[in-house]
């Protein structure tokens, strides 16, 4: 580790024509930070933030109604008991839930739903780049560093702007002499050259960040925070969270998942320290799940779901929902929570407010699939 750090410090790898200038780690003029957490697999919003005040809820959910110790947020909604630390953020006015929300996608395929959520397009696969990548281009200095906490770049971060990725490993370090030769071998390869440059720089940065190997949910939050602090820290980070597809035996599995999310978010906040005041965290999933419990103690793919805005800039302590109700005639196609708030209106409004962007321009760039008017008043000014 020391080896590579000194190697970078004395410029051996960064000198000469080997590395393009865009690879320099820039300190963005914005102090604002964004963390986008994607819950892959369609997290159940109706269990995460249960509409316990809806008269139809208990009957639809049957065996899944398990809100012992749940935290009542208001007359309608009860937060899952596994989200205790998030509840205290809510009470501190830093967490805003948006319920009965959805992207423009209306079918029930995970992979298509995630594609629409990440690209910001109107239809699956109608564009190749992601809204987080396009956001980089909107920021005052386009060198704002973006990073994915995964071995590869997820769709939301793909696009023309340069981004990096990092995931912890327990492989032993390779020798610096060998790494330099690999760098030279890749110099003329357009694809490998860029990837290699990014990797070397991100590794160097991570090696400065202490001993945490990023395993486990809290460690992932801590790692994300460590990669976002300091003048060279990333400003935009995407965290991938898997395992939300609960077709069977949902109760225990979802409690575990939510417990992990809670720990990750808390560790992120602690790790960011004072920078939390400039941070917006968005947690979203591709769609919701069926309103009724299915035949196997789980729920199937649905439509309307839940999103969360969290952080020091969020005007929180409330649930935003034009609640459609869960009565039989209120359900979307007779089975799902009906989406009433377009998720893209929420995201466009929050991102514009957080980064001080013109809301209309932000909306049309980030979500060319259409948003309607970006929602105002989500961020403290």
């Amino acid at each position: 580790m020391i080896d590579r750090r000194s190697l970078l410090a004395n410029g051996a790898l960064l000198s000469g024509a080997l590395f393009a200038p865009r690879m320099a780690w820039a300190s963005a003029p914005t102090e604002r930070r964004l963390v986008f957490v994607i819950q892959r697999g369609a997290a159940d919003g109706l269990a995460t933030l249960a509409p316990t005040g809806d008269p139809a809820y208990a009957a639809l959910r049957g065996e899944l109604v398990d809100i012992g110790g749940g935290i009542k947020l208001d007359g309608m909604f009860t937060l899952h008991p596994a989200l205790a630390q998030l509840a205290s953020r809510y009470q501190a006015g830093e967490a805003l839930f948006v319920h009965a929300t959805a992207s423009p996608y209306r079918d029930r395929s995970h992979f298509d739903g995630q594609n629409v959520l990440e690209t910001g397009g109107k239809l699956p696969y109608d564009r190749d780049d992601g809204w987080m990548n396009r956001l980089i281009g909107l920021l005052p200095n386009s060198d704002a560093k973006a990073l994915a906490l995964s071995p590869a770049i997820p769709t939301a971060l793909r696009g023309p702007a340069s981004v990096s990725s990092y995931a912890p490993t327990n492989l032993p370090e390779a020798s610096s002499e060998f790494l330099q030769r690999v760098g030279r071998l890749y110099a003329e390869d357009p694809q490998l050259h860029g990837l290699w440059s990014e990797a070397v720089q991100t590794r160097a940065m991570a090696s400065l960040q202490g001993d945490d190997n990023g395993r486990g949910a809290a460690a992932a939050g801590k790692l994300a925070a460590s990669l976002m602090t300091g003048p060279e820290g990333a400003r935009l980070v995407m965290v991938e969270s898997n395992g939300w597809d609960t077709h069977a035996n949902q109760r225990g599995r979802l409690a575990n998942q939510l417990g992990g999310l809670d720990a990750m978010l808390a560790a992120l906040r602690d790790g960011l320290g004072p920078a939390w005041a400039d941070t917006l965290v968005i947690v979203a999933t591709e769609f919701g799940r069926t309103a009724a419990v299915n035949g196997t103690g789980g729920t199937d793919h649905g439509t309307g779901g839940l999103a969360l805005l969290l952080g020091g800039t969020v005007k929180g302590g409330r649930v935003l929902a034009d609640w459609p109700g869960l009565g039989p005639s209120a359900l979307y196609e007779g089975r799902d929570l009906r989406p009433t708030t377009p998720l893209n209106r929420v995201l466009a409004g929050a991102l514009a407010g957080h980064f001080g962007l013109d809301p209309v321009r932000a909306a049309s760039t980030l979500f060319p699939g259409g948003t309607g008017k970006p929602l105002e008043g989500l961020i403290r000014t």
Partner: protein, 461 residues
């Protein structure tokens, strides 16, 4: 010369140390159809799916018991008691993953082995469910391998009836509300019912493909038709335990009545109904298109040439889904031989690397650990869609860095190999000047080998 490199790397699993490149690449590929061994001795020595279902049941029962004891007693055990019983299944997984790798390292039919991996990924089960942990290997060995050179319809039926798939996608517990048991349960106020997970993935992933025109009603109707496709040997209730561990059609949970899928009526009774629907889906034009597109992407590049898709699609339709006919069309088409390179997945790269240095056997833990670190643990794609087959999912900065680290480790571990000779043998007529120069200028034989394993040629196929 260059065609030999394409045959070895793109169609095959990479060249093996000490083996001359095939002089007649197309013939070499076609002859593999007769050389492929579906059930070699190493597989027959492993526990089969009935044995694994039994192991799972025992583990589950032991877990419940251990949990009860732990709750009753005061002393804290050193490891979570509820996880201890699953060790045997973890070991079975490690064994099966090792057999899979060793078969791929030594096979006389690397093209067909690649196709086995392709279909196992097309019909993916993922070990992040405990029940899939032991069964994932048996799924590939029992449902995929024996059918990889048969009809797509037979492959499909073998897959959808395998306990691994039935349990992974929750089908085994799906109960027709109007079935005998569904009615009894409802009278007792204990309604269990339909789970449409498998039915949706059959339409979306296994056959027609997403956005190919089926509706939510088609999903629900297929789910109803498939009720009863279950796994015996697991349930507590004697009535639901069936004749023994393994696939079992349980008539007492089958939803009676006629079904309508994609506009066609199916009046069959019992198991025959689901089978008739699957037979139709297997030869549906949308299925032909979907399979052709995936094969073309795997062999013809991330953006598959439309001309290649059309050829494969027509071969599929013309032959009623006869897979060797489709593969033959693939080999005879010019597109895969001249197409842009594919970025190797971690699995592909690991196999190519180990074959290059002549590894014949690998301890299971090393295999599992390396593939974990490289981002593609065996049989763990994390979703029924399987692993993605395009570069953006694999060509990440950190992913590349890890491969380079692993390359150095592997090169340090094997004996002396002249990387310059090996390189010409692995990539006949296709070695780039920068790689040749890097190998010639390396400071040691081990470093030259590490550079070869990390070279741009090695990263792609």
């Amino acid at each position: 010369m260059r065609d030999s490199s394409v045959a070895l790397n793109r169609f095959g699993l990479g060249g093996r140390k000490g083996e001359a490149p095939p002089p007649e690449p197309r013939r070499w590929l076609l002859e593999q159809f007769t050389r492929f061994e579906p059930r070699p001795a190493a597989i027959l020595a492993l526990p089969d799916s009935p044995a694994l279902v039994t192991m799972f049941r025992e583990a589950r029962d032991n877990q419940r018991e251990a949990k009860r004891e732990a709750e009753a007693g005061d002393n804290k055990p050193d490891i979570a008691p509820e996880l201890r019983p699953y060790r045997a299944l973890r070991d079975a997984y490690g064994e099966a993953a090792m057999v899979r790798t060793n078969l791929a390292l030594n096979t006389p039919a690397p093209f067909v082995e690649r196709l086995v991996h392709f279909w196992a990924n097309h019909f993916a089960v993922s070990i992040d469910k405990l029940v899939s942990l032991g069964l994932a290997g048996a799924f590939e060995f029992e449902a995929i391998r024996p059918n990889v050179l048969g009809k797509f319809g037979d492959l499909l039926l073998a897959v959808e009836r395998h306990p691994a798939m039935l349990l992974y996608l929750d089908q085994a517990q799906s109960i027709g509300p109007d079935s005998m048991l569904g009615q009894i349960a409802a009278r007792r106020g204990n309604a269990r019912g339909l789970n449409e997970n498998l039915a949706r993935e059959i339409l979306e992933l296994h056959t027609l493909g997403v956005r190919s025109g089926y509706s939510q009603d088609d999903v629900t109707e297929l789910a109803r038709a498939l009720t009863g496709w279950s796994v015996g040997g697991l349930a507590q209730q004697p009535r639901l335990r069936g004749p023994g561990p393994g696939y079992w059609f349980a008539d007492l949970i089958h939803q009676p009545g006629e079904r309508k899928v994609l506009g066609k009526r199916y009046g069959q009774r019992g198991e025959a109904q689901g089978e008739a629907i699957l037979r139709d889906l297997a030869v549906h034009p949308a299925t032909a298109r979907h399979i052709a597109t995936k094969l073309a992407r795997h062999f013809g590049g991330d953006e598959p040439p439309p001309s290649l898709i059309t050829k494969l699609e027509q071969a599929f339709l013309r032959s009623g889904g006869d897979l060797p006919t489709v593969y033959r069309t693939l080999i005879e088409a010019p597109e895969p031989w001249s197409g842009p390179p594919k970025f190797r997945t971690p699995w592909d790269w690991t196999l190519a690397t180990l074959r290059a240095v002549g590894t014949e056997r690998l301890p299971s833990l090393i295999n599992a650990n390396a593939l974990n670190q490289l981002g593609q643990p065996t049989w763990k794609p994390g979703s029924p869609a399987g692993w993605d087959d395009t570069a953006p999912s694999w060509a990440g900065p950190d992913a590349l860095y890890r491969r380079v680290e692993v390359a150095e480790r592997i090169a340090a571990r094997v004996g002396p190999i002249d990387a310059r000779t090996l390189a010409e043998q692995l990539f006949p007529g296709a070695l780039s000047e920068p790689t040749r120069k890097a190998l010639a200028g390396a400071e040691s034989p081990a470093q030259a080998l590490a550079l070869l394993l990390a070279s741009p040629e090695m990263m792609r196929r």
